[in-house]
């Protein structure tokens, strides 16, 4: 408890420090508290009772250990500061009756068991784990199978969700929930989770100062990552692959998106990364590969798009002209069909020092920078936008002739959308 | 034995052969004469299957021509202008023909010797002179010892000595019982080589018979005069 106060008084905006303190706090607690372990066996057919009993008997700091077996539960509340721990074969089955575990408290740890079959609700967001009005919660090494929502976190702080496998088999958006759902929360960390088959892999709304890293989010039926109004969060080293609509981030400022992979998002209106009204943020060191659109940016301002790699996308970067002062620098654009597209003849953004594999200029002075400026917007991309059917003429000589003519005398493409210093070789 | 019945051929509006009837017995040597464009070459090409007739039949050694090709084993053809794949050597051309026909050129070496082609056969055909190419054509026509020879202006490019050698060779072939058809504008040459002439004018046979009879009919001493007279007669 003392350490909790300590943490509170030292609440810091620095994420790393807070995480460190969290870890120290856990260690401190486990060293000082006098803890007991209560073992629980499953009682087939009887709802909640055995676990509920154990929790009632437990004191703060105790561990409730689940023996292997299937436990029928639903809406099982935990408000004591305990650890609920399982082992190989410990399974909590909700049998489609509603919520699984409902956490309302502080210092609760869930570890190493499986929760399955929450059942879906039209009125309620049933979840395997609901964490509400809580602080200092750890959810680790769980397997969440076939639930409506995986982990639903609301109005909570200092939550750590790590190394969980969250699977479902969502078919339609209306009958499925999100893998990790965060709402009005702060200082949440989600690391190294695998999330698939949900609606959104990770969803954040009104979340602050949170951090997602090392998550593998694939084949969800809406967005891999979806956030709105969630300022000052960072997303580092995640992989978002084959999610029906890619990743969408909206109405947010101060976002850091670093070292992520956005892969294989194919189809109409599918984007590796959709930026909508994102301000003062950084998109750096990411890989965008084989997406219909790598980044789609709309009404976003002062976003730094730097040192990313765009590979084999239909359109690498689609910058709508209603955003200002975005900087696109030192990226590698390799083997994309269209490198940059836009919807205006104006260009309010800055492009410099990128590598464009379609660049055909030369470098006589050998400084690694092309001697001729480069216009990455092709006329043919405009044609394809007006009449998508004309895409069937992609790579035709006619299309090449039109593009070349337009590059020499820009009439329809933005005149000042120019990279004055195109690189001759890709950035390393 | 070559039999031609009611042969007709037009190139577009141009009626090249009109109802040709002709029978050439085995062993006969025959000159085909007529002005330029009278249909001589077309007649030979039709017999070779190069040109498809509009109507009529041709029978060569008991084969009725109908898109078949085996009968050509019996025919040696020497074209007017001999041009061959440029980068090929004459020896290669001969080899190729032997392989193509799956038949050894029994007179190949003999002919090369007679025409003194030894040094020429080891060069690409493109560097050969017109006369030497003509000789290569003669070798090709005769090396398989065919029973029928079609010679289209055979001596046109040859020097007097080669021409003499060539004519000797033809006389030998005649003695061996070959059927020989020669087109030529050099009437004196024909007088030396053939007994019979066919005179074609505007696609029609105007005369077919021995040279002797032709001279007698026209009261001329030489073939040239007789033909010239006939051409005038028709035009009048």
């Amino acid at each position: 408890m003392k350490s909790a106060i300590f943490l509170k008084t030292f609440r810091t905006r620095h994420l790393f420090l807070s995480q460190l303190l969290l870890i120290l706090f856990v260690m401190f607690e486990s060293l000082t508290a006098q803890t007991n372990t209560i073992r629980v066996k499953s009682e087939p057919g009887i709802l909640n009772s055995s676990i509920e009993n154990a929790i009632q008997r437990a004191d703060s700091g105790d561990t409730v250990l689940l023996e292997p077996g299937v436990y029928a539960i639903h809406d099982l509340q935990i408000s004591k500061s305990i650890t609920l721990q399982g082992q190989e074969g410990s399974i909590l089955d909700i049998e489609e009756r509603g919520y699984g575990l409902i956490l309302k408290g502080t210092n609760i740890t869930l570890k190493n068991f499986e929760i399955r079959n929450s059942g879906s609700g039209f009125m309620e967001d049933f979840a395997a784990i609901l964490i509400e009005n809580s602080r200092d919660i750890h959810v680790e090494d769980l397997t969440l199978t076939n639930n409506f929502f995986g982990i639903f976190i609301a109005k909570s702080e200092r939550i750590l969700v790590s190394n969980n496998n969250i699977f479902s088999n969502a078919k339609r958006q209306t009958t499925s929930g999100n893998g990790i759902h965060l709402w009005y929360s702060k200082n949440v960390e989600a690391h190294n989770n695998t999330i698939t088959g949900h609606r959104d892999g990770i969803y954040l709304e009104f979340v602050e100062e949170s951090k997602m890293s090392g998550n593998n989010v694939f084949s969800n039926i809406r967005y891999g990552l979806h956030f709105m109004y969630s300022n000052s969060c960072s997303y580092i080293g995640n992989t978002f692959e084959d999610n029906t609509s890619g990743v969408a981030v909206m109405y947010t400022k101060n976002v850091e998106m670093l070292h992520n992979h956005f892969i294989n998002n194919w189809g109409a209106n599918r984007y590796g990364l959709l930026l909508k009204e994102i301000n003062d943020s950084v998109v750096k060191y990411n890989l965008f590969e084989s997406n219909s659109v790598g980044i789609y940016s709309e009404a976003s301002n002062r976003v730094l798009i730097e040192q990313n790699e765009f590979r084999n996308n239909g359109t690498a970067l689609r910058m709508m002209a209603n955003g200002l002062d975005n900087r696109i620098e030192q990226n590698n654009f390799i083997s994309n069909v269209f490198e940059v597209t836009t919807n205006s003849r104006q260009n309010p953004n800055h492009y410099e020092g990128n590598y464009w594999s379609q660049y055909e200029g030369y470098d006589l002075n050998g400084d690694g920078i092309g001697d001729v400026e480069y216009r990455p917007v092709r006329l043919f991309s405009l044609l394809a936008e007006k009449e998508p059917l004309s895409l069937i003429m992609l790579r035709s000589i006619m299309a090449g002739v039109l593009d070349t003519a337009e590059r020499v005398f820009p009439v329809l493409t933005p005149k000042n959308l120019v990279d004055p210093k195109p690189l001759m070789q890709p950035n390393q | 034995m070559i039999t031609i019945q009611q042969l007709q051929k037009s190139f577009g509006d141009h009626h090249v052969l009109r109802n040709i009837d002709l029978e050439i017995p085995t062993g006969q040597s025959i000159g085909i004469v007529g002005p330029n464009g009278s249909g001589k070459t077309t007649l030979i090409k039709t017999m070779l299957g190069l040109v498809k007739p509009d109507s009529g039949t041709i029978t060569i050694n008991n084969t009725v021509l109908n898109g078949n090709h085996i009968y050509r084993r019996d025919i040696g053809y020497m074209p007017q202008q001999a041009r061959y794949p440029e980068n090929m050597y004459a020896t290669e051309l001969f080899d190729f023909m032997e392989n193509l026909r799956d038949q050894p050129g029994e007179f190949r070496n003999q002919l090369i010797e007679e025409f003194n082609l030894y040094s020429e056969v080891e060069k690409p055909l493109r560097v050969l002179s017109g006369g030497n190419r003509q000789k290569v054509g003669a070798v090709l026509a005769m090396m398989f010892n065919p029973s029928i020879l079609f010679l289209d202006e055979p001596t046109a490019g040859l020097d007097p000595r080669s021409s003499y050698i060539f004519k000797e060779r033809i006389r030998n072939e005649k003695r061996a019982g070959k059927t020989i058809l020669i087109t030529s504008h050099i009437m004196s040459e024909l007088e030396q080589l053939v007994e019979h002439v066919v005179f074609i004018l505007e696609g029609k046979i105007q005369y077919y018979g021995t040279i002797g009879d032709l001279l007698k009919d026209n009261r001329q001493d030489h073939l040239e005069g007789a033909i010239a007279q006939m051409m005038e007669g028709v035009e009048l």
Partner: protein, 265 residues
């Protein structure tokens, strides 16, 4: 018959292999492919650039080569026709004897650098085979068209060359321009099926679409359009385009054979 065919093909091969320009043709592809590897950093980029060259130049060169062969070897043709050889056999012998070495030069020139840059192993192997296959098929188609033009305009070389160049220009550039125009003129009408059908009639477009389907599917799928994306996004598109390409492979050969059989030489 097969022996005769073999003899003709072999002779063509030998003659052509001695022709320096054919070796030059192979060398150009060798240099080009190797250079592409050095300048683009390898992978799909090389294959895509190579396919651009293939779609542009192979039709032109093959067709000119086919027609040039007919014109240059008229006497040789006539010599062969006077031999006891069937015309059909001769035709096939000549055709394969010409298109074969041309294809071989192209394949040798491209394959060697592709091998030593490791493009024949792993994932790019199939793509490599696709691109080279399209090059080979286009060689056959357009050599065949050259044959057809040469036989159809046997006595009128200037016309023959002129029309061949026009055919190439039409198929390579103008046809696509017309389709684009059509798309923009009739964009409000349901013309998707028609447009897809039209592109299927042009062998260069067919080759191009096969390459699109392999390399640019991500761009194509980014746009809506039912027929379009259904057709292009599925295996059906690939199969239909391949099937049409095979039809195109047959068409000029068959036309050429018809002409050759009936022709007066």
């Amino acid at each position: 018959m097969i022996a005769v065919y073999y003899q003709i093909v072999r002779n063509e091969f030998q003659t052509l292999l001695r022709a320096r320009w054919l070796i030059g043709y192979g060398l150009i592809f060798l240099l080009l492919t190797d250079t592409l590897f050095r300048f683009t950093g390898g992978g799909a980029e090389v294959l895509v650039s190579l396919s651009n060259v293939i779609l542009l130049f192979i039709p032109l060169i093959s067709m000119l080569y086919g027609i040039l062969f007919i014109y240059q070897s008229r006497d040789y043709l006539e010599l062969l026709l006077t031999q006891p050889v069937n015309r059909e056999t001769l035709y096939w012998g000549l055709f394969t004897g010409i298109s074969g070495p041309l294809t071989s030069a192209f394949l040798a020139g491209t394959t060697l650098p592709l091998i030593w840059h490791g493009n024949f192993s792993g994932e790019p192997a199939m793509q490599t085979v696709l691109v080279l296959g399209i090059g080979a098929i286009l060689t056959f188609i357009f050599t065949g068209l050259g044959f057809v033009m040469g036989l159809a305009y046997y006595e009128e070389k200037i016309k023959g060359f002129g029309y061949s160049l026009m055919i190439w220009l039409f198929m390579a550039v103008i046809y696509d321009g017309l389709i684009l125009l059509l798309i923009f003129l009739l964009g409000d009408y349901p013309i998707e099926t028609g447009v897809v059908g039209l592109t299927m009639l042009n062998p260069i477009d067919l080759g191009r679409i096969l390459i699109l389907l392999e390399f640019d599917i991500s761009a194509l799928m980014g746009y809506t359009g039912a027929v379009f994306s259904q057709f292009l996004g599925s295996l059906k598109g690939m199969l239909t385009a391949s099937f049409m390409l095979v039809l195109w492979l047959i068409l000029p050969m068959w036309l050429g054979l018809r002409l050759f059989r009936k022709k007066d030489f």
